[in-house]
Symmetry: C2
Subunit: 346 residues, 2 copies
C-alpha cells in the first residue's frame, strides 16, 4: 500500500507538500498541486487514517453504545445517527450492550482505546463503572433515549408524558379501569419514567396502579411473556397491559396467544415504541411513537457541538400516541396513515 513518501517521490516533491495538497492548505503552487494529484491517482494512494489520527489526535469517529441492536427502535436510532454523522463528516462505531452492563463497559473501553472523538450512550441498567468514569473524565458524551441523573452530560430524549396521558384517556374512554404495566428496569430512566407517567395519568382519572399490576421486565421479549403470564394468573387479571417497550409487547402477545386468549377481547395491549410490524400484528397494536430520526440527528448534533467546542444542548422531543385496534377501538378512518407501515425511506 502506497504511503505519502511514495507519492512525494513520484511527484518529485517533499512529503510536506503532499500533505499540504491533501489537506488543501493554501500555500501550494498550482504546479505542485497537479503533480501531487497525478501521483496520488497513479499510485491509488489513500491516506492512512490511523497515522493521521495519531498525529492530529482526532479520529473523526463517534462511538454509539446502544442497549440492544435487536430492538427495532435502537436499530432505527443507529441508522439515523450514522446518517447525520456522515453528513457532518464523522464515522460511527456501534457497540451493542445487549442490556448487560459489563458488555457496555467493554464497548466503552474499546471505543475509548480507539480514541473516538465522542460517545453517544443509551446507558443500560444504572450505567457501568467505565461509562461513569468516562463521563467524569470529561470525554465528550451525550446520552440518548436513556440517561443517568447527576452527571453533567447533555440528554437527547423523547418525553412520553403527554402521549401516555392520551393513551390512558383512550383506554378510560373504552371503559377499561384495571390497567397494568410491564415496566423496564427501574434503574433505567425510561424504565422508571414510563411507570411514573402511567401512574400519574391514572391518578387523573382517580385510578391507582397496584403492585400486582406493576410487572418487572427487562425490555426483552421473554420478560414480557413472563410478566403477562403472572398477570393472567391473578384472581382479577387486568383489562389492559401496557408494555414499556416493543419487545416486551411481543412477549405479551406470545403469552396471550399461548393461553388461547385474544387481544383485545380478552385483554387489551398497548406498547411504548412504535415499529412497522405493529401495523400487521394480530391485532394491530396501539403504540406510543417516538420521533426516532429526529432524536438521532439531535443527539449527533449535540455531540459534535461539544466536540467542536460549541455548547451542546439537551433536547426533549414529544412522543405521540398511535391508536390501532389492540385496545378495542377501530382506528379513525380519517387518519388512514395510522394504519399503514411506516416507510423507512421517506
Amino acid at each position: 500500500m502506497a504511503c505519502i513518501k511514495d507519492v512525494a517521490a513520484e511527484a518529485g516533491v517533499s512529503v510536506a507538500t503532499v500533505s499540504r495538497v491533501l489537506n488543501d492548505h493554501p500555500s501550494v503552487s498550482t504546479e505542485a498541486r497537479t503533480r501531487v494529484l497525478a501521483a496520488v491517482e497513479t499510485l491509488g494512494y489513500r491516506p492512512n487514517a490511523v497515522a493521521r489520527s495519531l498525529r492530529t489526535d482526532q479520529t473523526r469517529t463517534l462511538g454509539l453504545v446502544i442497549s440492544d441492536v435487536l430492538n427495532p427502535y435502537f436499530t432505527e436510532l443507529a441508522r439515523s445517527v450514522e446518517e447525520e454523522a456522515r453528513a457532518l463528516g464523522y464515522s460511527v462505531i456501534i457497540g451493542n450492550a445487549d442490556e448487560r452492563p459489563e458488555l457496555q463497559d467493554h464497548h466503552v473501553r474499546t471505543l475509548l482505546d480507539r480514541r473516538i472523538d465522542g460517545l453517544l450512550v443509551s446507558p443500560t441498567d444504572g450505567g457501568s463503572p467505565g461509562m461513569l468514569d468516562a463521563a467524569r473524565a470529561g470525554t465528550p458524551m451525550v446520552f440518548v433515549d436513556r440517561w443517568i441523573p447527576g452527571l453533567d452530560v447533555p440528554v437527547v430524549r423523547a418525553d412520553g408524558r403527554t402521549a401516555v396521558r392520551d393513551l390512558v384517556a383512550h383506554l378510560h374512554g373504552l371503559g377499561h379501569r384495571r390497567l397494568a404495566i410491564i415496566a423496564g428496569p427501574a434503574a433505567t430512566t425510561t424504565g422508571s419514567e414510563r411507570v411514573a407517567a402511567f401512574r400519574e395519568a391514572l391518578a387523573a382519572y382517580g385510578l391507582t396502579l397496584p403492585d400486582a399490576y406493576t410487572g418487572q421486565g427487562d425490555f426483552q421479549a421473554e420478560s414480557g411473556r413472563r410478566v403477562t403470564e403472572e398477570f393472567l394468573d391473578l384472581a382479577e387479571p387486568p383489562e389492559v397491559v401496557f408494555a414499556a417497550d416493543n419487545l416486551m409487547a411481543l412477549g405479551a402477545l406470545d403469552a396471550v396467544r399461548a393461553r388461547g386468549l385474544r387481544v383485545p377481547d380478552d385483554i387489551a395491549l398497548a406498547a411504548f415504541d412504535d415499529i412497522p410490524w405493529f401495523v400487521h400484528t394480530d391485532p394491530p397494536v396501539t403504540a406510543i411513537a417516538q420521533p426516532v430520526r429526529e432524536l438521532g440527528r439531535a443527539a449527533v448534533r449535540a455531540l459534535v457541538d461539544r466536540i467542536e467546542g460549541r455548547p451542546p444542548q439537551s433536547v426533549t422531543l414529544p412522543a405521540r400516541l398511535v391508536v390501532r385496534r389492540s385496545c378495542g377501538e377501530r382506528p379513525d378512518p380519517n387518519h388512514p396513515h395510522m394504519n399503514v407501515t411506516q416507510r423507512s425511506n421517506p
Copy 2:
C-alpha cells in the same frame, strides 16, 4: 491521558519494559512487572490503540458492510458477527449500505482507510467499484449471504433450494397452482437464486412461472407493496405471493390490507427470511428461515482464518421451511415451536 512514557517514569523503567509487560513478553523480571502494573493502575493508563495499530500494522478490527440495517435479518447477522468476533479478540465496525452501491463504496473506502484487518461484505446490487478493487487487491475478505461470482473470495451463505422445494410442495398440496414471486434485484445472488430455485421447484410439479408473475422488487417494503398491487390488478391474479425477503413481505401485507382483502383467503403469502414478528402478524407468515447465527459465526471464522494465514473455507448451510397460516393451513400441533417467537438469547 497518560501515555507509555508516563508509566515508564512512574515505574522507574524504560518504555520498552512497560511495553513488554503489557504484551506479556517473557523476559521481564517479576520486580519490574509488579512496578509497571502498579504504575498502570495508579495512572489509569490504557494503551493507545491508534499508535499500536500504526506500529504493528494490525487493528484487530473487522469491517462488516451490510445491505440494510433496518432488515431484521441483517441486524441479527450483525449481532452474531460481533459476538463471534469479540470471542476471537476482534472488534467490528458496521457499515450500512442501504442497498445503495455508492454508499457501500463509501463504507468500504472508509473501512480500508482505517486499515481494518478484514472485510465481511454482503454486496448490494452487483457490487461497487471500490469493493471490487478491494477484493482484487487482496484485502482479506469474505462474502456473507450474497456474493459476486468470479472473485476468489470465500462465501458463507444459506442454501434455500431444499426449503423452497418444501414450500412449493406445501403450496401445491394446498391446491395452489398460480404462484407468483416478488424477486430481489437480479444483480444480487440472493435476488436471482431465489427466483431460480422457485422456478425449478415449480417445474417439478409441471408448473411454470410466467413473466406476469415475476415482480421486480429491491428488498424494500415499498417495492413489495408496489409489486403486489400489480399482481392484484392482473386479470387473473396469482393465488400465492412468495416474497424474496421479509421487508417485501411486509409491503405485500400492506397492499393486500389496503385493498380490503385477506390473507390467506383471498391471496396466500410466504416469505424468505423468518423473523420473530412473523409469528404475530395477521395471519402468522409461513417463511423460510436461515440459520443466521451460524452464518455469522462461520463468516467471522472464515475471515479470521484468512487474516491469520490459515486457508479460509466457504460454507453453505441449509435453510428450512417454517409453516404457519399465511398459505391456508393450520400449523401442525405436533410442532408448537413453529408458533412461538424465536428467542434472541437462547
